[in-house]
């Protein structure tokens, strides 16, 4: 259903996302994982056509038969909120503070052709569907009167309003209290049609997704079914990531990945991870290709 | 002549202009038909109210005298006293009794007839109701009597040359016995114009008086429009907002009106002596030598050229050339910085020059300061709000060393005779000369006043920077503009438009 081929994102001369390709089948839930600065959010935003000013995408991305990248804004904007929707990381600022919640939910429907009164009614239903108590009252509230978790549910209601084919969630629970995170994730898992779920949290991915893409330095370094990648990581970065997140019984952490993520544009040539990789050799100065069917990786010295 | 109170007025500012002259014209005004012509005249100071019996300032008589209020006599363009409401007057042999024969069929704008009773009433009010100190000019009047409806007799305590002259001023204005209830807002007079409308802060319109006893004015209305900013007034004339600038406040700008196809410039003289006053009552200017040094230190020609674009006349004492006893005294203190330094004896002084914030004063002060600095007198300029603050600080309290003001009143040499006056000039000889001039014959008067003027100059009681020019700019085709401004009013009676 969603096919991404050779997606590049650049800001001025700096390439932020390099040659990303993946697919999502109808009903499939795919996780996109990586540290901040890895290019995962930009990948998602380029699919939505919401890249910040001065940042451009090239390559191919299709949702069904419709192109998402390299087409005029007027065409993409009709897909947004209808065929594909997105829930953002920061619920506190994602809603218009001067507009009632119900109106903001209804807006996405009227925008795509539903009559106003019908949209109003359906907005309340949607609020109920995302498990908000007293949806009628919430519809009349302003965003500042809701908690973070409630606002994120409102965002989810907006995303679901027009029955999209694909839902993109960009760290939807990061900003929420731990107690609320679980409910939110359950809700997303329950209502999402097909899902592209972006996070840096391996545990969340594990509970949500069937397939996973690991990004680092603007590239997909490893991809495959969740179980394979998590139990038998091939790329040294994935390996490090998993090791860092795994707790020992005594609660002490294993060594994390050395160094830190370089700023955009400062990644080494060749394998982007080689300056932090304990296994790096001169061979790594050449860019490795993402190879392998099903469980693919881009590494000259993969783990077994 | 006793102490002549001054209407120091706004100096050149209010002075604006005055007097009559020219011949009535006729023509097609902007309004269309021959009887709806109107004219608008730009002036600088708006009156605070319309009651010149209790409010100082030149602005009120400027617009009301001769135009709305008339006296028994008036001053013509040549400085001659001519009949107005009095057809004629006879002076007794002892020069103490004046018998005025009044015009008949004169009516006030209220409809009341003008009779000798009104003369008795009006001159009586000067003593009883007027609040201005200039009313002392009529202290010489002993009694005013009605002989019959058209004859009034004024008896003086002693002969006075100043009496009839004072009668041409505000003091001689004739009021109706039934028209003094609201002088501040509703003037009632016998003149060719009546008050039309007053838009405070903007303009005063006078309308032609349909029942005027004399030659009816050529214009149906004249509007006096008030400007605080000289440039704004210039622009108004350039763009047709007004027809006449009654007194140019920015003489350098005259070039703008050089096109003879559009504008005309009238340049004449006034009674306004721009005086560099020195406080004779306190150091350092209580020292005659220091005062004389100042007079030598100032290059009057350069001052006039820079400060007032060379417009005006140089004078050397308190007498304008239009007075019969004028003598050229400009040679008394030639520009001579070396002499000035010598007179100062090598000493330097720091003094306060407190001036009114009027264009001519601010301009002149900067030249005076620069020139005095050359001889060692450092004058700090302090512009004060005119009129209130200047009057308070300098004029009333006398807290100043130097000041610059245009003394606009006609025949005002007498102010130097009063040592409480802000000059604090004190020379008994001078007072004696003035007193004998007022009582004596015409010849004696002239001789005495010439001598008095010389005395003032010799004593360096003040320095006379220049005689303020009467500078009028008008649209081409406006006639009846006064060449010289030597009376208190801007006479509208002769104004016309071609």
């Amino acid at each position: 259903m969603l096919t991404v081929e050779g997606l590049h994102v650049r800001a001025d001369a700096v390439e932020l996302v390099h040659d990303v390709s993946f697919t999502i089948a109808p009903g499939e839930r795919v996780g996109l994982i990586g540290e901040s600065g890895s290019g995962k959010s930009l990948t998602a935003l380029s699919l939505m056509g919401l890249l910040p000013e001065g940042v451009t995408a090239s390559g191919r991305a299709r949702l069904g038969e419709r192109d998402l990248v390299g087409v005029p804004e007027s065409r993409v904007k009709d897909l947004r909120g209808r065929a594909l929707s997105m829930v953002f990381q920061e619920p506190m600022t994602a809603l218009n503070p001067l507009m009632r919640v119900g109106a903001q939910v209804a807006e996405v429907m009227t925008l795509h052709g539903r009559p106003r009164h019908e949209a109003r009614e359906r907005a309340v239903e949607l609020l109920e569907r995302v498990r908000l108590p007293e949806p009628g009252q919430i519809a009349r509230a302003y965003p500042h009167q809701l908690s973070g978790g409630q606002r994120q549910r409102v965002m989810l209601a907006i995303a679901l309003a027009n029955g999209p084919e694909l839902l993109i969630c960009d760290e939807p629970t990061t900003a929420l209290d731990v107690t609320v995170q679980k409910q939110m994730l359950d809700l997303i898992a329950e209502v999402a049609p097909a899902l592209l779920f972006i996070t840096h949290d391996l545990a969340v991915i594990a509970s949500m997704c069937e397939r996973v893409l690991v990004m680092y330095g603007g590239r997909v370094v490893e991809s495959g079914p969740l179980r394979d990648v998590f139990t038998r990581p091939r790329h040294r970065y994935t390996q490090g990531l998993l090791a860092a997140s795994r707790l020992t019984p005594r609660g002490t952490r294993l060594p994390t990945i050395a160094g830190s993520v370089p700023p955009a544009g400062r990644f080494p040539s060749g394998c982007v991870f080689r300056n932090r990789c304990p296994h790096a050799t001169p061979a790594c100065e050449t860019t490795p290709a993402l190879t392998g069917d099903g469980h693919a990786h881009a590494c000259w010295h993969p783990a077994d | 002549m006793r102490r002549i109170g001054i209407w120091i007025a706004a100096g050149g500012l209010l002075l604006a202009t005055a007097a009559c002259g020219g011949s009535p014209g006729n023509g097609s005004g902007s309004g269309g038909g021959a009887k709806t012509q109107s004219l608008s005249v730009g002036a600088v100071a708006e009156p605070a109210n319309l009651d010149f019996t209790s409010t100082e300032g030149a602005a009120i008589p400027q617009i009301l005298l001769v135009n709305v209020y008339e006296g028994l006599v008036k001053l013509d363009q040549n400085g001659e006293i001519v009949p107005l409401l009095a057809e004629k007057w006879d002076v007794s042999g002892d020069r103490k009794t004046y018998t005025f024969t009044l015009r008949k069929n004169v009516k006030f704008s209220s409809g009341a007839p003008f009779t000798a009773d009104d003369v008795v009433f009006s001159l009586g009010r000067v003593k009883t109701d007027w609040k201005l100190k200039i009313k002392t000019q009529l202290d010489v009047v002993d009694k005013v009597e009605k002989k019959d409806d058209s004859t009034a007799v004024v008896t003086l305590k002693r002969p006075s040359n100043g009496f009839l002259y004072a009668m041409t001023s505000r003091l001689g204005a004739m009021f109706s016995r039934t028209g003094v209830a609201d002088l501040a807002n509703k003037p009632v007079g016998t003149g060719p114009y009546v008050l039309g409308a007053w838009r405070r802060g903007d303009s005063i319109r006078l309308d032609a008086n349909p029942s005027y006893w004399g030659t009816k004015p050529a214009l149906s209305s004249v509007t006096m429009k008030y400007f605080k900013d000289a440039t704004a007034m210039n622009n108004a004339l350039l763009t047709g907002g007004i027809d006449v600038i009654s007194s140019v406040q920015a003489p350098e700008s005259l070039q703008q009106f050089a096109d003879p196809n559009r504008f005309q410039t009238v340049e004449g003289t006034t009674n306004g002596e721009v005086v560099l006053s020195m406080n004779n009552g306190r150091p350092p200017f209580d020292d005659k030598k220091v005062r004389q040094a100042v007079r030598h230190a100032i290059d009057h020609k350069a001052l006039l050229d820079t400060a007032w674009a060379g417009r005006g006349q140089l004078i050397g004492s308190m007498v304008p050339p239009t007075d019969p006893w004028y003598e050229d005294r400009t040679g008394d203190y030639p520009y001579d910085p070396a002499k000035a330094k010598e007179l100062l004896g090598g000493k330097t002084y720091a003094v306060k020059m407190r001036i009114p914030n009027l264009p001519y004063a601010v301009s002149s002060a900067q030249v005076v300061k620069s020139q005095l600095a050359q001889v060692g007198i450092n004058a700090e300029i302090e512009p004060l709000e005119f009129p209130a603050r200047w009057l308070d600080q300098v004029f009333s309290k006398g807290d100043y060393d130097l000041s610059i003001i245009n003394h606009v009143e006609p025949r005002d040499m007498g102010i130097f005779a009063d040592k409480s006056y802000y000059f604090h000039y004190d020379n008994p000889e001078f007072g004696k000369l003035l007193a004998s001039a007022d009582e004596g014959t015409e010849q004696q008067q002239a001789d005495d006043l010439k001598q008095a003027a010389k005395l003032l100059s010799d004593d360096a009681a003040a320095d006379w920077l220049f005689l303020f020019p009467n500078l009028i700019v008008a649209k081409k085709g406006v006639t009846g503009l006064p060449k010289n401004a030597i009376a208190e009013s801007f006479d509208f009676t002769a104004l016309a438009k071609q």
Partner: protein
């Protein structure tokens, strides 16, 4: 909201009273006895004392204040010492003129600033946007009276298409009224418009960076649509604050423009009053100006609260 309104109203009233005390006290410091000034330099002491009694300036200051303030509450500003005319009608006449001048200037500023500022923000990376930004920067640097003088020079003196000054009441001739006000409006509005353009631009730029604008686009709105529907109202919140500040500035800026264009407004009345030491008049005008600024602040605060539900 009601509670807020009541509280804010109480503050307004209290500030006005305190301001009245301040104005009165300040005026009491002015040198020059009104009675002496009214009578001129040659007045007799008896006449001065008499007039002082008539003016009531021989009473204790507190009594004078209460009398004056009591009158104010009833719209009576007293009678001028100098012109012996009632002050209230003068002030209300002039206030009308100044209000027209200021509101017109504000309208010009808004008409210029909102589209230009928004355009400059949306196109802040383009040369045209940068040019507008630079032009507004230059516009701020020009003193209002200089702008006025230049406008007169160009449109009145050279082109002779508009009057150089003066004010014609609308009742006399609506056409002339309008023609006479165009240049004053422009000279007030151009400079204030430049200031406002910068605020609008920065407010819109801020809003454009907001997450909810991205949300709106995620819903399917275009850039412009999102900005229009969700951005401008949000951007208007800071702009309204500035607008209030600017109205106050304009009210005072009008003093200068009134001088340039010979418009009989409040500023002109104030300067006249100061020059003529018309104490009561100055007191009245200052009070009205200060009260107007306080009132504008009040309106801005309330508008702010109406615009932003978070404050309710």
């Amino acid at each position: 909201m009601i509670l807020y309104l009541v509280k804010r109203l109480a503050v307004l009233l209290a500030s006005t009273v305190v301001a009245a005390v301040a104005v009165f006290a300040f005026m009491a410091l002015l040198p020059g006895d009104p009675a002496e000034i009214a009578l001129g330099v040659n007045a007799t002491p008896e006449a001065v004392a008499d007039l002082r009694h008539r003016f009531g300036t021989d009473r204790p200051p507190a009594v004078q204040f209460l009398d004056w303030f009591g009158g104010l509450v009833q719209g009576d500003f007293g009678t001028s010492y100098v012109t012996s005319a009632p002050i209230g009608p003068q002030i209300s006449d002039r206030l009308g003129v100044t209000a027209v001048l200021v509101l017109g200037g504000m309208a010009v500023a808004l008409v210029l600033a909102v589209p230009l500022g928004t355009f400059a923000a949306v196109h802040h990376r383009d040369p045209l946007g940068a040019a507008i930004s630079a032009a507004s920067q230059v516009g701020i640097a020009v003193p209002a009276f200089l702008a006025g003088i230049l406008l007169v020079f160009v449109f009145a003196v050279q082109a002779q298409v508009l009057p150089s000054g003066g004010y014609v009441p609308i009742a006399d001739d609506p056409g002339e009224w309008l023609r006479g006000l165009l240049l004053p409006w422009l000279s007030l509005g151009l400079v204030q418009g430049a200031v406002l353009t910068r605020y609008v631009r920065s407010a819109v730029l801020d809003v454009m960076r907001e997450d909810y604008l991205r949300t709106a686009r995620a819903k399917g709105r275009g850039r412009t649509g999102a900005l229009w529907r969700h951005g401008l109202r949000n951007a208007s919140v800071p702009v309204v604050t500035v607008l209030g500040l600017q109205l106050a500035t304009l009210l005072i800026g009008a003093v200068v423009v009134e001088r340039v264009f010979v418009i009989p407004g409040l500023g002109d009345l104030l300067l006249n009053g100061v020059a003529g030491r018309d104490l009561l008049l100055v007191q009245g005008v200052v009070m009205v100006l200060v009260a107007a600024v306080l009132l504008i602040n009040f309106v801005v605060d309330v508008t702010y609260h109406l615009l932003d539900p978070r404050l309710r």
